[in-house]
């Protein structure tokens, strides 16, 4: 690595003049660009077909699948919204995603911070316990989880079939990776910053909210994005624990397909409605999503 670098510095000075020609946009790149665009169009075809067919009647879908609709009719959308109970499933998905993500961010950053600063064996062990959760696949615990959670009831409060119960379970599954990411980041923050705050008389909680949380912002964005996509799209956990009581978007889609699987005109509209929120989200925080994916995977 080091050898490569020094070697390459020598080469660089030798070749500085030739660099310009190699960097310019050539015909070869133009061909590559056109080819990439064709591939992108192919990539987007399923979305395009969903979209145009969502405005057609059923007869028209089968007579003319790939063409534009004769009339751009929004009736399918209204029907799908009613039958899928779109507004309430959207609200539920929002509540569950936002609730879970905020609490995951809060609890993981709190835990990661003290685990880094309290450099004892106890902290090390607890950190390993958290990270070991990352390798447990959901299928390995889902069955006992459902049976065990069904037993938990404190007064009127139950885990199964409630928003907060589902949020609680998402926290349990989400903290592992989040703590891992925060832990790595906090290790790089100098201790002196918070020591000054402690001397100034801040309590632990004040130091955390006033000093630490603002410093963690870049990682918080990453962790928030990764968890939001996961919770928003997750199907199996809500399917096993709240199905029939609370409809999230994936659950609503699944029930909808069970009941109307042959009614493609409604299905198209429903699918478009289901993917719109995440696409909008993507266009707003696109850069963070891509950066987050890279950080999250190179752990």
């Amino acid at each position: 690595m080091e050898a490569n670098k020094s070697l390459n510095k020598v080469e660089q000075s030798k070749s500085a003049k030739k660099l310009k020609t190699l960097n310019s946009y050539t015909g070869k790149l133009g061909v590559l660009e056109i080819f990439a665009w064709l591939l992108l169009i192919l990539y987007m075809t399923p979305f395009y077909l969903m979209f145009i067919n969502s405005f057609k009647t059923r007869r028209e879908i089968f007579a003319n699948t790939t063409g534009l609709p004769e009339v751009w009719n929004f009736k399918n959308y209204l029907d799908a919204m009613n039958r899928m109970d779109m507004i309430s499933s959207f609200t539920n998905s929002m509540i569950i995603t936002i609730g879970s993500v905020i609490l995951i961010l809060l609890f993981s950053s709190m835990a990661a911070w003290v685990l880094v600063r309290d450099a004892t064996k106890k902290s090390k062990i607890i950190f390993y316990v958290f990270t070991s959760g990352m390798i447990v696949p959901f299928q390995a615990v889902m069955l006992p989880l459902v049976k065990w959670m069904a037993k938990i009831q404190v007064g009127p409060f139950k885990i199964i079939g409630t928003h907060y119960g589902l949020i609680f379970m998402y926290i349990g599954f989400g903290v592992s990776m989040s703590i891992f990411l925060y832990h790595g980041f906090i290790k790089g923050i100098p201790k002196e910053v918070e020591e000054a705050a402690t001397i100034d008389g801040c309590s632990k909680w004040q130091t955390y909210t006033k000093v630490i949380l603002p410093l963690l912002k870049p990682t918080t964005v990453t962790v928030a994005v990764l968890n939001s996509i996961w919770v928003w799209n997750d199907f199996l956990l809500p399917f096993l624990t709240v199905n029939g009581k609370i409809n999230t978007i994936p659950l609503a889609m699944n029930n909808f397909f069970g009941a109307f699987s042959k009614q493609w005109e409604l299905a198209m509209a429903a699918l478009i409605l289901a993917i719109i929120p995440i696409i909008i989200f993507y266009f707003f925080v696109q850069k963070h999503i891509i950066a987050g994916i890279v950080q999250g995977s190179i752990k």
């Binding site: 309290d118 615990v141 903290v175 592992s176």
Partner: protein, 288 residues
Amino acid sequence: MSKKSKDNRDFWIFVGPALFAMTMVVIIPFIIGIYYTFTNWNGANSKYDFVGISNYIGLLDDTQFIYSLKITLAYTFASVLSINFVGFGLAYAVTRKLKTSNFLRTGFFMPNLIGGLILGFIWQFMFNSVFTGIGKGLGSTVLATSLLQEPTTAMFAMLIVSTWQYAGYIMVIYVAALENVPADLIEAAHIDGANGWHTFRHITIPMVRQGMTICLFLTLANSFKLFDLNFSLTPLKTTEMLALNIYKEAFVLNNMGIGQAKAIIFFILVTAISLTQVYFNKKKEVEA
């Protein structure tokens, strides 16, 4: 309160919530799960017997489980290759100096944001109506038959969808790796007379090897654990992969002991994959 006991109290206040949630949701169920595997509990009846390790031994004769394991391995092998091949290709293309490079990245990444369940439904339409429609139009009976009808072709269909879905994700990681390859290194090789292929083979590939390890293991684990797409696109017995097989054994057939024994085997296999990855990453760190 003394400083020490106050520190101790603060420690548990900060670690407690996360630790409590994870203990309740992951650790305790995991332990209960191991206990289940030694019983013949059916989930509803409060009476059950201890059956020792017969649930595990029975898996050897469980033809559906063995079948699921086989197709999962075959599928995983194929999809690791195809996702990485396409993902790397996309990354290589969008890291050249294209004018619309950023837009292309955004587009190729998009399928990734949508959950496997919904993608499965979208592609049902593609395979059952669009492709067959085009096939009929061309007058070809082969093309007019939906890929989802036969087990082998249905697995192939799943491969197409997951490559389409994950290649953009893998692309993003390869892009990060490729951008770390110093441009002057490539230029230097060019000037020394190396052609495109040589540069690619002897400079680019070795430089992105760590990114490659990450991508290989990521796709390996994801393909092996595939559930949502399998559930919504190809829910037949003949295309039932491991995760779906566990789900059905536990929640459709209500065999808690057997279902959980399958889950534990599944856990061991996934853990083996993850630990191998950790081993390789550690090794790389030492070398670098």
